[in-house]
């Protein structure tokens, strides 16, 4: 089982993902964004950061990095891909996930640990029971998820909404629980097949109990268990 962690110019959370996955006992290596060979990897991580300085729009330039064509092919074959924070923005820009991430509604960069509610979804990366509340840090300026009403209805109907911002007790404030103003409190979504997952929070930062906590671990262990069931490398 080997994770591939893509480094774009301006990525800055790739070391955290490597540390998290290796501390869980998995093999993981960097992939340079200019590479066009990702064979040998079983799961791809697009990490957080500020790829290409967030110029034009967050993720808009990274989407065209040479490696992305391979990542798209990998995902189309059913390969698991997770995009964290800037990685989520890149997945949306690449149309691998619907919608877009706008600037936070309060215009403030947000850096805090927040409660999130796991929703019942088809996401292959998460098998925590629905309504489980996890606490994971967010660290972003553009996490305000938006999509049109038709897309939102489809996401809901297909079980593609994976994580929602919530209150500490798991309930949602009718006025909105998303600190960034995200539509319907959405913090993470997946594609219809469930293999491509994008989320604004940083689960890799809560994998090492010496550093913070362990609420992020399931976001890496689940996919490994699923791949083990499917068997073999792609």
């Amino acid at each position: 089982m080997k994770f591939g962690v893509v480094i774009f110019p301006g990525s800055n959370c790739e070391q955290d993902v490597i540390h998290a996955t290796r501390s869980l006992g998995y093999d993981s290596e960097f992939i340079w964004h200019g590479d066009t060979d990702i064979s040998g990897f079983d799961a791809i991580v697009l990490p957080g950061g500020f790829s290409y300085g967030d110029y034009i729009r967050c993720g808009a330039v990274a989407r065209f990095s040479p490696v992305m064509a391979e990542v798209i092919r990998f995902a189309e074959k059913g390969g698991p891909v997770i995009g964290i924070c800037n990685g989520f923005q890149i997945l949306c820009e690449a149309h691998m996930l619907p919608g877009a991430l706008l600037r936070n509604s309060g215009l403030k960069f947000l850096c805090e640990t927040v409660p999130l509610r796991v929703e019942k979804s088809v996401c292959q990366w998460v098998d925590l029971p629905a309504d489980t509340v996890v606490r994971i840090p967010i660290n972003h300026n553009e996490g305000n998820y938006i999509c049109d009403a038709e897309t939102l209805a489809r996401l809901e109907a297909n079980g593609q909404i994976v994580l929602r911002y919530c209150e500490a007790d798991g309930t949602r404030n009718p006025a909105g629980s998303a600190p960034n103003g995200a539509l319907d409190d959405i913090a993470g979504i997946c594609n219809e097949r469930g293999n491509v997952f994008g989320l604004m929070p940083h689960p890799e930062r809560v994998c090492d109990p010496d550093a913070s906590g362990t609420d992020g671990r399931p976001f890496f262990t689940t996919i490994v268990e699923k791949l083990a069931l499917v068997g073999g490398s792609r």
Partner: protein
């Protein structure tokens, strides 16, 4: 060479936080006549002349300079508006 100017703005219905902030600030300054403020992006391109120049500039907007999911754009070239 022709100069193309591109104006990128949020689609109708997409909340524009910087625009909303400027709107409130202008109201606070007493400019009550301001109905709404939208803040967008401005891009200038110098492009070699060619038969498909405009089509290709549109393509550049759709692919990279604007995100059709949330943004509209308007292309203007040499006083002439498209």
């Amino acid at each position: 060479m022709a100069r193309y100017e591109i104006f990128v703005t949020y689609k109708k219905g997409i909340f524009d936080p910087p625009g909303a902030t400027a709107e409130r600030a202008l109201a606070n300054l007493g400019y009550e006549e301001v109905g709404s403020v939208k803040i967008g992006k401005y891009v200038q391109l110098e492009v070699a002349d060619g038969p498909n120049a405009l089509t290709r500039v549109r393509e550049m907007c759709d692919k990279l300079l604007a995100n059709p999911v949330i943004e509209d754009y308007r292309i203007q070239s040499d006083e002439k508006d498209w």
